[in-house]
Symmetry: C2
Subunit: 663 residues, 2 copies
C-alpha cells in the first residue's frame, strides 16, 4: 500500500485535469464531482479495488459503481489512466460526442469496466446492493476460492435523498451485506445550492438506524481515507463512509459552490486551477511518470487474478461457473416436456398459479434463478420449487423477501443480473410496476435479463378497485424499448412465456399474470413455442372470414367465446392470441401478414380485446378497426361485475362487432 | 375529554364489528388493520380530530388520512358512526360492491370525508405532508382566525418501508411541519409474515434522524394513546407515534398473525370474536347508546365550526378564502393580453424559458400558485414572479425547494391540491416523470389540479444521453386516464397551455417543455386559445393537399420546414400542431374531421413527427400513414447531432414522405 502524497496527488490531479478539460472541450458535463472525489477514487483504485485493467470481465473482480453517474469523467479517467483498452484519450477528447463510448452518463453497454448504467439518481447504489447479494450468494454456491469480492460505490447527496435509497439500504442492512462499501460525497451542495435549502437530515444516524456501519473521513486526506476504509473492512455490516469533500476541488474561485456542479469551469478558471494544482501538462496530456503510476495501479491485482485462474482451472466447478457467468442456460434445458404435460391435462387456473407451477420446474432445473417478491409472495405465486430463503445467515437461499420495496427490488435485480451468475425474478402487482418503472427502464437500457412477475393484471383483480387495477400499464410498458411485455392467456402460454423470458440474454421481460382462473385453450400439441412468435392463431375462421379477434391474456378466452357467437351467425372469425406484441413485430413480414393480412375493414374487421387502455391498439386493429378496452380508471367490484360493467362479455362485444360490420 | 373505557371500548368495538362483518359479507377485504387500530382511531375521532360530520367540506377541519388505505373499513366505520351522510349502513353492507361508495380502498371522489385516495402504499402519508404545507401556508396568508388545523395520518409498515416515506418525512422534518401527526400501526406484521423477514430497521431512530418527534404508546390503552398525542401536540416538529398494536385485535385465534391482514376471518372466528369483544349486536346493527356516543363525537366541534363561520363572515378575506377553497380563478383572469404581446414580438426561446415568462405573469396575478422543483430550479425554470421561498421560518413563501425528491414532491402537490386553497406546480426532467409516476396517476384518479412542469422533453436535451432522454414518456403519460399531456411548440403555445392547465379544476396536467430554443411560429393574432382545441392547423396546404403533418412541441417547427420543402415540390401539406392529444379527442367530430379528414393515405398521407416513440401514433396517422419518431433509446451527443442521427431533419423526413406518396 502506498499513500504517499507525493505519488497520490499527481495521480488524483490527473483525474481532475482530464475531467475539467473534457467538460470544457464538450462545453457540457459535470466537473465538480470528479474533482471533489478524485482523492477518494485514487486511494480506492490504487490500493483497495480488486481489478485488472487488462481483464474487465474477470468474474471475481470487485464491482465499482459510480452511483452519481453525472460525474462520469471520474470513471472515464480511472478506466483510461489505469490502462483499460477504452476509453482511449481520443475517446476522452470526444466526451459526450456522438458515437463516443464516453457518454454523458456511464453506459454499461458502451464501455467494459462500467458495471452498470448510472445517472438516474439513487439507482447505482441500489444496483450495487443487488451485486453484493449476488456475490454472497455465488460465494455460498462456489466457495471462497472462486467468488470472494466486494462492491464499492460512490454516491452523492442526490442518491441519498431519493426514496429509493431508503429501500436499498434497508434491504442491505437487513441482509448484512458487509461486502458493500459506499463512499458518500458529502460536499453539502446540490444543483439548487446548499443542501440546507431542502434537507436537515442526519444522514449518518439514518444509516445507523438501518443497520449500517457509518464512518467518516476527510475526502482530501489520503491517510484518513485509508483509515476509514480499513475500519469499514473490519465490520460485518454494509458501510457508509461520509467523505467530507469540496465540490470542484482545485478550481480556486468556484470550488465549494454549485457553479462547479454541472457546467464547464471556463478557460480562466481552468487556467487558475492548473496553477492551483501545479498541473503543467497540456490538456489531454498525462506525464509519463503519472501514467506509469496509474498503470501499475491497474496491474496491481494481475497476479491475484492469475492465481484465481489457476484455482478455477483446478476446480470441478469451472464449467458451471463459466456457464453461469456467461449467462447461458444449461445445455438441453427445455420446458417442452412440461408443456406437453399441460396440453395433455388441461386445467382451469390463474396464470399467476400457472406461473408458480412453471417455476417449480424451472427453479429445480436452473440453479441460477433467484426469486422474490415485494411482500406479495402468496399473491404473486413467486415461491416455488426448492429455493430456500436468502437471509443474512443463509446465503445459499434463492428466495428473497424484498419487503415493501418494489423499486429497491427491481434495482437489486438489475444489479444481480449485471453482476452475472444469477437470473433474478421478482413479483409485485402490475399496477405497482409504476413504483419500479425507473428500474424497469434501466433493465431495458442496460440489456439486463431481469424477469418481472406482475400479477393481478387487470380489473379482473376485482374488489381492490381503481388504485390496484392496471389500465394504462400494459401499453405504457410496451412503449419502453427493448422490453418484452408478455401476457399469457392460459397455463400453456404461461410456460411458453417463461421459456421465452429465460432465453433473453440481453432483454428484460414483464410477465403480466391474472389473479383469476382462466380456461385452458391450448389443448393441442403444437410445434415449437407458439408464444415465441409474439402472436399466433388459436382458432381459424370456419365461415368466411370477416373478423380477426386479437386478444391477450385473460381476454383470449373471451375472444374465443365471441368467435363462437359470430360463427353461429355465419360470420367467420379468426382468434389471434398476442402474448407479446414486441415479438410479433419482430417476425417476418410474411408471418405477420399471414396472421394480420393487410386488407381494409371492409374485407376483414380487426378487433382488439384487452382489459386495459385502447391507447396504441390501432397498430394492430387499424384506425377503423374496433378496440375493446377501458379508457377510464377501473372500479371496485367483484371481478365478474367489473368485467360486465366495462363490457367484457360476449353479449356486449358481439353486437358492437355486428354493428361495425354493417356500418 | 372522555377516555373512560366503559365508553370507549364499545365505540371501538363498533368499528371492529362493522369491519369484520363487512369483509365477511364481501368475502374480500382487510379486517386486521381496522380491528388493530380501532382504539387509536376512537381516541382521535372522539377527542382530538377537529371535524363536524354534518359539514365534511368545512375549510378549517382537520385532515385525516388513512394512509394504510387497505384498512378502508376503519374509515368507513368512522364516517358512518360519527354521522356523516355517507356511507349509509346499506352502503357498508355493500362494501366493495359495484357502484357502492365503499370501495375496496377509500376514493376521495366517491365519499365526502375521504380526504384523498389511498391504497398505493406510502402515498397517503406523503400527501398528508402536502396538506400540512398548504395549511401552514394558508395560515400565513389568512391568519389563525381562519386557518388553524392539523393533519393526522394512520400509516402501516408498508407506508414506512416504501422509499417515498424517506422523501416525505425528509421534507416534513426539514419544514418543521408540527401540524402533522402520524400514527404508525406498529403491529410487526406484513403480508408475507413477520416484519423480521425483510427489515431490521429502527424506525424511530430513522424518524428522529430526519427531524421528527417520535413517541410511542400502547395502541390498546386509551389513556396511553391520549398521553402520546398530548406530548406530540406540544412539539414544534412533525410527530410519529408508534402504536404497538395487535393486528386483528379481538379475533381470539387469528389476532397477531398475517392471516387477519387481507382475508375474511370466517364465520367461526367472527363468532369467537363477538364473544371475545362482548359484542352481542347482529351484523350491521349498532346499539343505540353506542351510536349516540359516536354521534356526539361527530358533533363535538359543531360549535367551534359556528364560531369559525362567524369569524369568516366578519372577515374581509371571506370572499378570497371562499374563492380559493372553491378552486375558482379570480374573476377576469386571462392571459390573452400576455399572449397578444408575445404575438406582437416573436422570440426564439426554449419553451421551458417561455414557461418561466408565463409564470412570471401568472404568479403575480394568482396568489394561490405554489411552485417548486425537485432540485432543478434553474433547469426547470420554475421560479418566476414574486413568490418568496417556503421555509420553516417563512410560511408565506410560495416557492418550495423540494430537494431530490420527485415522488415526494408530486405527492405533496397532490396533498396541497386536495387540501384546497392552492394550485401547486412543480418541476423535474420529463424522463424522471417515471420517478413520480405513481403520484401522477393518483393526481389523475383523484381529480387533483396539479401541474407538472417537465422540461428537457426529448433527445433535444443532448449530451446527458439515454438515461436522461425521454422516449416512451410522452405516450406513456398520454395513456393515463384523466391527465392532460401538453407539449407546446413555441412561446405562444406555452402560455396557452399554462392557461388550459390552470382552468382544469378536476384534472392534472403535464407540461412537456424543451431545453433548446424554438422559433416562434405563432405570429398572428388568433381567436381564443388555440391549444384548448388540443390540435389545430398552423399552416394550410398551398398546393393541392396531399399530406398532413402532425407534430408536437419542438417538432412543429420541423414540420413547418418539411411542409415548405414539400410545397416547393408542389405537394400541398397542412401542418397541424397537436399540443394536447387528449383535448383534441374531446373536440366535436366536425372539428376533428376538419383537422384530420377521414380519408385514406391514397388521398391524404398523414405523418406524425414527435421526438419520442412512435407507439400509439397510429391513432392519428392511421396504420398506413407515416410516423417519424424514435423507437430505441437515445444517445449522448449535442442536440443537433442527436436530431440528425435519429432523422429529425427536413432532409431526412421529406424523402420518406415522397417515397410513401409514390408507393
Amino acid at each position: 500500500m502506498s499513500l504517499d502524497p507525493a505519488r497520490m496527488i499527481p495521480m488524483a490531479n490527473a483525474i481532475r485535469a482530464l475531467s475539467m478539460d473534457a467538460v470544457q472541450k464538450a462545453q457540457s458535463g459535470h466537473p465538480g464531482m470528479p474533482m471533489g472525489m478524485a482523492d477518494v477514487a485514487t486511494v480506492l483504485w490504487s490500493n483497495y479495488l480488486k481489478y485488472d485493467s487488462s481483464a474487465p470481465d474477470w468474474a471475481d473482480r470487485d464491482r465499482f459503481v459510480l452511483s452519481a453517474g453525472h460525474g462520469s469523467m471520474l470513471l472515464y479517467s480511472l478506466l483510461h489512466l489505469s490502462g483499460f483498452a477504452h476509453p482511449t484519450m481520443e475517446e476522452i477528447e470526444n466526451f459526450r460526442q456522438l458515437g463516443s463510448p464516453t457518454a454523458g452518463h456511464p453506459e454499461n453497454f458502451l464501455l467494459p469496466g462500467v458495471e452498470c448504467t448510472t445517472g438516474p439518481l439513487g439507482q447505482g447504489l441500489a444496483m450495487a446492493v443487488g451485486m453484493a447479494m449476488a456475490e454472497r450468494h455465488l460465494n455460498a454456491q462456489f466457495g471462497d476460492e472462486l467468488v470472494d469480492h466486494r462492491t464499492w460505490v460512490i454516491a452523492g447527496d442526490g442518491c441519498l435523498m431519493e426514496g429509493l435509497n431508503h429501500e436499498a439500504i434497508g434491504l442491505a442492512g437487513h441482509l448484512k451485506l458487509s461486502r458493500l462499501i459506499v463512499f458518500w460525497d458529502d460536499n453539502q451542495i446540490t444543483i439548487d445550492g446548499s443542501t440546507d435549502l431542502s434537507t436537515s437530515e442526519n444522514v449518518r444516524a439514518r444509516y445507523e438506524a438501518t443497520g449500517w456501519f457509518v464512518n467518516q473521513c476527510d475526502g482530501h486526506d489520503y491517510a484518513d481515507i485509508a483509515r476509514a476504509i480499513e475500519e469499514a473492512l473490519a465490520e460485518d455490516r454494509p458501510a457508509l463512509i461520509a467523505c467530507r469533500t469540496m465540490i470542484g476541488y482545485g478550481a480556486p474561485n468556484k470550488q465549494g459552490t454549485a457553479a462547479t456542479h454541472g457546467a464547464p469551469l471556463g478557460a480562466d478558471e481552468i487556467a487558475a486551477a492548473r496553477e492551483e494544482l501545479n498541473w503543467n501538462a497540456e490538456p489531454f496530456q498525462i506525464p509519463d511518470q503519472i501514467r506509469g503510476e496509474w498503470h501499475s495501479a491497474g496491474a496491481r491485482c494481475r497476479e491475484q487474478r492469475s492465481e484465481w485462474l489457476a484455482r478455477l482451472d483446478a476446480s470441478d466447478q469451472k464449467a458451471e461457473l463459466e456457464r453461469r457467468m456467461a449467462g447461458d442456460l444449461p445445455e438441453g434445458f427445455s420446458l417442452d416436456e412440461f408443456v406437453a404435460g399441460l396440453v395433455r391435462e388441461p386445467q382451469k387456473v390463474a396464470t399467476r398459479k400457472a406461473s408458480e407451477n412453471a417455476l417449480a420446474v424451472i427453479n429445480n432445473r436452473l440453479p441460477e434463478t433467484v426469486g422474490g417478491s415485494a411482500d406479495l409472495t402468496g399473491s404473486n405465486n413467486t415461491k416455488a420449487g426448492d429455493l430456500g430463503d436468502f437471509f443474512a445467515d443463509n446465503r445459499a437461499g434463492r428466495y428473497v423477501y424484498y419487503g415493501i420495496r418494489e423499486f429497491g427490488m427491481a434495482s437489486a435485480m438489475n444489479g444481480m443480473a449485471l453482476h452475472g451468475g444469477v437470473i433474478p425474478y421478482g413479483g409485485t402487482f402490475l399496477v405497482f410496476s409504476d413504483y419500479c418503472r425507473p428500474a424497469i427502464r434501466l433493465s431495458a437500457l442496460q440489456e439486463a435479463r431481469v424477469i418481472y412477475v406482475m400479477t393481478h393484471d387487470s380489473i379482473g383483480l376485482g374488489e381492490d378497485g381503481p388504485t390496484h387495477q392496471p389500465i394504462e400499464h400494459l401499453q405504457s410498458l410496451r412503449a419502453i424499448p427493448n422490453l418484452l411485455v408478455m401476457r399469457p392467456g392460459d397455463a400453456v402460454e404461461t410456460a411458453e412465456c417463461w421459456d421465452v423470458a429465460l432465453q433473453q440474454k440481453k432483454r428484460p421481460s414483464v410477465l403480466a399474470l391474472s389473479r383469476q382462473g382462466l380456461d385452458q385453450f391450448r389443448t393441442e400439441v403444437a410445434e415449437g413455442n407458439q408464444c415465441a412468435h409474439g402472436a399466433y392463431r388459436v382458432k381459424e375462421a370456419e365461415a368466411e372470414r370477416r373478423v380477426i379477434l386479437i386478444a391477450t391474456g385473460s381476454e383470449v378466452g373471451l375472444a374465443l367465446a365471441c368467435a363462437k357467437d359470430l360463427e353461429s351467425c355465419d360470420i367467420g372469425a379468426d382468434v389471434v392470441s398476442m402474448p407479446c406484441a414486441e415479438l410479433f413485430d419482430e417476425q417476418s413480414p410474411a408471418y405477420r401478414d399471414n396472421i394480420l393480412p393487410n386488407v381494409g375493414p371492409d374485407e376483414v374487421l380487426r378487433v382488439s380485446i384487452e382489459a386495459g387502455t385502447t391507447f396504441g391498439w390501432e397498430r394492430y386493429t387499424m384506425l377503423n378497426g374496433l378496440r375493446i378496452g377501458i379508457d377510464t380508471f377501473g372500479t371496485s367490484a367483484p371481478a365478474k361485475d367489473a368485467f360486465e360493467k366495462f363490457g367484457f362479455t360476449s353479449e356486449a362485444i358481439v353486437p358492437k362487432i355486428l354493428a361495425k360490420l354493417e356500418a
